[in-house]
């Protein structure tokens, strides 16, 4: 709250409607109070409590007149404060702001929503943004009127010209006539809005075949300049029957638009001020991301918000391509006074726009959709409001269901409703991707199981890309016939004794898997030279005869690995098999999962075993075995610590980091909420119909809107989205989110919501309130902390004492805690320990000039009981 507002608030409490306050330069307070409270008091006694109010607000005691009603009458002093003040100029607006006043909500007789497009400086694509938005709103079914109030440099009439006849008069002429001409029964107004010569014309959108109405400024010429110069702007808007209000009323009666898009004058002049300060129900401010724009825009946004509670949205335009653009945006962001979660709309430089003389520019429409979506969101929220009010909110909350689902049910019975493919899914299908890495909980095993056990479901989401591919589990839970933890230990010993490379082992193991799953492989093995191999496989590994892995199998597998001749047969067998697959135009994928469990972690041979597998894959590729492909699902930190020859060949193209991006996260939230409740699904579909096939394509804005009935769209009094808030709070220090955290959060939020009061204060446009979500966040954090403790048992002692740290801390604090807890228990260095904590997303390094060295990720603060440092966002 600014100091003037604070003082006004205190005075209103103490002297309701008994004072007149203004504040001049240097915080000079001009105050007149007329109150019976001053009866029988000396000047000093009257002044004392008021002085402290002024000082508390950080203002200067100026001219303070304190009267009893009788004294005021003697002095002829009266109060002049009025409640309904609308600023008609920047000067008035600033004066209202500096004296702590706010403008009341304007009530109009028509329901047209006025949206002002403003720019502090010109040439930033303000009018283009407005026109592109007009077309998008029209296509969304809205009746749109564009009003050109850039009267000193009108452009709309050139960009969207009148087709039926030559432009003669416009808004300026209409207002001039209404303000300056005399009317009686013999002299009626000549300038009309509609009719053959009406100033309003329409252009048709070729796509939707719907009209966009245009109110041009007027035909530029001597008459236009004369009429414009005699208009007294203040009196165009001051009273209910003033010319502007007559214009709006007539517009409503004759055209019934839903939305009026006003193109405002740039800078701090009269017309721009009037449009923004007097008319805007909503405002967009376009600016080029440069410092010379930032100061003015910051001031105007602040003014609009303080005076009328209008959250003006920023459009950065046009942003140059590449690094230059990124740098400009990064540099200007801090100067605009945006809150952490606040978004701006970015319009990249687009040559079609720059060179276009015809609107809309279809190829660039998508850039402008956030503007239209922002406006449409508000109308869909109003719709949610009606629907939730009319149905039973409590029943809807009850109907939600967020059961803990294991991977098996997600992939089987609940697949259609719940399975959410992430943006990475498509890349997962790429032959060239050999390693799929990710944190625990990011869905590696879910994908492995989907491909190995639910191939039909996998094909549903793969758009035909799995048609000629046979997928085998080369190692993992999908096949019980496999060596596990202690067996691998034994294998390792044997390999060591025989000085055999792990590569040979993985080759032999792959041959066994293929033999057991692909009957056609047996045909390949019938070649005379491969007979010794075939006989061993038939005798020891026949699928029907051998279902449980035993010592015999370990011995035979080791033999195939250590016996050079047999291993060479394995190599040849794979080559022949590849050839046969090639002939049939087929491919076989070998999938490896659970290696983090079965190959002893931190053992001296873990590196050798895993790097052997990687080298086997690389070797197969070098042998041109392009029809046998591999996918290894591996925990991210294990991959990072893995060192092997040719790791450099496993770059971006060969490995895929599985991550839940923001839109994946929103899609899952939507699936979870509509998937568990038929009534909520009905409600959500009435607000924003989102078909199954559209969900995976829906963009961030659409998803936020679709989730609005669940948890609201924006946080109260902030220009920040709830969806974004939830996402940020469930993200760890390496920008990872976990699907399970979302289920935990929603489940807990629902429980809290059902226990909360459902009185009048309950929101009518969404189901889960912020308090409920906050408690859900705590539950999700506890769940994640438990998971991380389970995953990293070597840090148990550290985790037990981590609450001695604060959410922001110095390196020294961490080092002390490390010393105290786990320093001596392994040969890991402190640097290694810190690196590990960063890798698992628990902590992140602060910037160089920060007071603290590290921060605990939001996601883990509650669960570990870490004390949050004041100032860090909750």
């Amino acid at each position: 709250m600014n100091s003037a507002k604070q003082l006004r608030h205190k005075l209103t409490q103490k002297f309701p409607q008994q004072f007149d306050l203004d504040i001049g330069a240097g915080g000079f307070v001009l105050l007149t109070v007329i109150s019976e409270q001053f009866e029988n008091q000396t000047r000093k006694e009257r002044l004392h409590p008021i002085e402290s109010l002024i000082q508390d607000a950080g203002l200067a005691i100026g001219i303070i007149e304190l009267y009893t009603p009788e004294e005021a009458q003697e002095q002829s002093t009266t109060l002049r404060e009025t409640d309904n003040i609308f600023p008609a100029s920047w000067q008035e607006a600033v004066s209202l702001l500096s004296s702590g006043k706010v403008t009341p909500t304007q009530k109009t007789e028509h329901p047209i929503k006025r949206v002002v497009f403003y720019s502090y400086k010109g040439g930033v694509g303000r009018t283009t943004s407005l026109i592109q938005t007009a077309f998008q709103l029209t296509r969304a079914g809205k009746r749109v009127v564009i009003v050109d109030m850039d009267v000193e440099a009108p452009g709309i009439q050139t960009l969207l010209p009148r087709q039926d006849l030559e432009l003669d008069e416009g808004l300026v002429d209409y207002l001039w006539e209404k303000q300056t001409c005399f009317f009686d029964e013999n002299h009626q107004a000549k300038i009309k809005l509609s009719g053959d010569t009406g100033i309003v014309y329409s252009v048709k959108d070729a796509d939707s075949h719907r009209p966009i109405f245009i109110v041009p400024a007027g035909k530029i010429g001597q008459r236009y300049i004369q009429r414009l110069s005699v208009l007294t702007t203040v009196q165009l808007f001051a009273q209910a029957n003033d010319p502007w209000h007559q214009f709006e009323q007539e517009l409503w009666e004759q055209f019934q638009p839903d939305i009026m898009l006003i193109d405002a004058r740039t800078g701090l002049n009269e017309w721009g001020g009037l449009s923004l300060l007097h008319l805007a129900d909503d405002a967009f401010i376009a600016l080029y991301p440069s410092k010379q724009n930032a100061e003015g825009v910051y001031f105007i946004r602040h003014l609009l918000e303080e005076l009328g509670g209008i959250d003006a949205k920023l459009i950065l335009s046009p942003i140059p391509e590449g690094l230059i653009g990124e740098e400009l945006v990064k540099n200007i962001k801090p100067l605009l006074g945006l809150t952490k979660d606040e978004q701006f709309i970015s319009i990249p430089y687009h040559p079609n726009i720059a060179g276009s003389s015809k609107f809309p520019v279809e190829t660039a429409l998508a850039y402008y959709s956030p503007i239209a979506n922002n406006l449409l969101e508000k109308s869909s929220l109003a719709e949610a409001d009606t629907l939730i009010t009319s149905s039973n909110r409590l029943d809807l909350v009850k109907s939600l269901s967020f059961p803990e689902r294991d991977a098996a049910s997600i992939l089987d019975a609940d697949f259609d409703a719940i399975f959410q493919k992430t943006a990475d899914f498509e890349r997962c299908l790429d032959d060239a991707v050999w390693v799929i890495r990710g944190r625990k909980g990011t869905g590696k095993s879910t994908l492995y199981t989907l491909f190995t056990q639910h191939i039909e479901n996998a094909k549903k989401r793969s758009l035909g890309r799995l048609e000629a591919i046979k997928i085998l589990s080369a190692h993992g839970e999908s096949d019980d016939f496999r060596p596990t933890g202690d067996v691998f230990s034994k294998i390792q010993q044997k390999l060591k004794i025989n000085q055999t490379d792990w590569l040979s082992f993985w080759r032999a193991y792959a041959v066994i898997c293929i033999y057991r799953s692909c009957p056609e492989f047996s045909e390949v093995l019938k070649k005379a030279k491969l007979k010794p191999l075939l006989s061993r496989l038939e005798y020891n590994f026949k699928k029907d005869a051998h279902k449980i892995w035993s010592i015999k199998h370990t011995n035979k597998l080791t033999e195939l690995a250590t016996d050079e001749k047999l291993n060479a047969y394995c190599r040849d067998a794979l080559s022949y098999f590849n050839q046969s697959l090639k002939m049939q135009n087929q491919k076989t994928w070998l999938l490896y999962d659970d290696l983090d469990q079965d190959i002893q972690e931190n053992s001296s041979w873990q590196q050798e075993a895993l790097s052997g597998l990687m080298r086997f894959i690389y070797d197969a590729n070098n042998q041109n075995l392009y029809h046998i492909r591999f996918k290894v699902f591996l925990r991210e930190d294990i991959w990072n610590n893995l060192v092997f020859t040719n790791k450099s060949h496993f770059g971006e193209a060969r490995t895929l980091l599985l991550q839940w991006g923001k839109t994946d996260f929103f899609r899952l939230a939507y699936r979870l909420s509509v998937g568990g409740s038929a009534s909520f699904k009905t409600l959500a579909n009435r607000i924003l119909p989102l078909a199954e096939n559209e969900l995976d394509e829906a963009d961030e804005e659409t998803l936020r809107q679709a989730l609005a009935p669940l948890w609201g769209l924006k946080q109260r009094s902030k220009n920040a989205y709830v969806a974004q808030w939830v996402y940020t709070r469930l993200t760890d220090a390496s920008d990872n989110t976990y699907p399970r955290s979302l289920t935990t959060l929603l489940k807990k939020a629902q429980e809290v919501e059902l226990e909360s009061k459902h009185g009048k204060t309950a929101p009518t446009d969404h189901l889960l309130r912020r308090n409920s979500l906050t408690e859900g966040l705590v539950a999700a954090s506890v769940e994640r902390c438990d998971a991380i403790k389970e995953e990293h048992k070597e840090f148990t002692a550290f985790f037990e004492n981590i609450n001695e740290l604060k959410s922001l801390f110095k390196q020294k604090d961490l080092q002390d805690l490390w010393q105290k807890t786990i320093a001596g228990k392994s040969d890991q260095s402190f640097d290694g320990f810190v690196k590990r904590l960063e890798q698992i997303g628990l902590i992140s390094k602060k910037k160089n000039n920060s007071r603290y060295d590290y921060a605990v990720a939001d996601l883990y603060v509650y669960g570990f009981g870490v004390q949050r440092i004041q100032g860090q966002q909750k």
Binding site: D22, G24, A25, G26, F28, L30, T32, R43, K44, L47, E51, A60, I61, G62, I63, I64, E65, Q75, S76, T77, R80, Q91, S95, T232, V234
Partner: protein
Amino acid sequence: MEDFTGAYIQRKRDALALLVLQDNHSVTVFHLGGIAVECYLKSLLIAYHRLSAWKHKSLKPNDPLFDKPIKNPSHDLMEAIKNMPDLYNIAMTNSEFLNHLKVIIKPLGEDSSDYISLRYLAETTASTEEWLQSFNYVLGWLEHNREAVL
């Protein structure tokens, strides 16, 4: 209607004449000086709204008080300024003027009487030097902005 211009000139002369006398005439100086400013403001107010009598309606076009009755602001100097919105807007941008005006209104400080009630005080030791600076500034500033608002 009262002759505010004439009264302003004469009261200013009275106050300045008392200032140069050997004896302590401070109370009267503050009192008459305040009245001089009051007279100047009233003469300005009448000219601003083209009034021929108090309570007549303002004839100043495009002014927020246009067509509204203008009352005699009595001894309230700020009220007189507020009744001239153009002048008031300029005044509010200048903290130096506001602070000097405060000295004219309450020459003996925040807790004491204003320049009118001061006449019942026998005498004061307060300095007239600082007051004179404020007096000259306020009248000079009003004169300087007169043209802009009339």
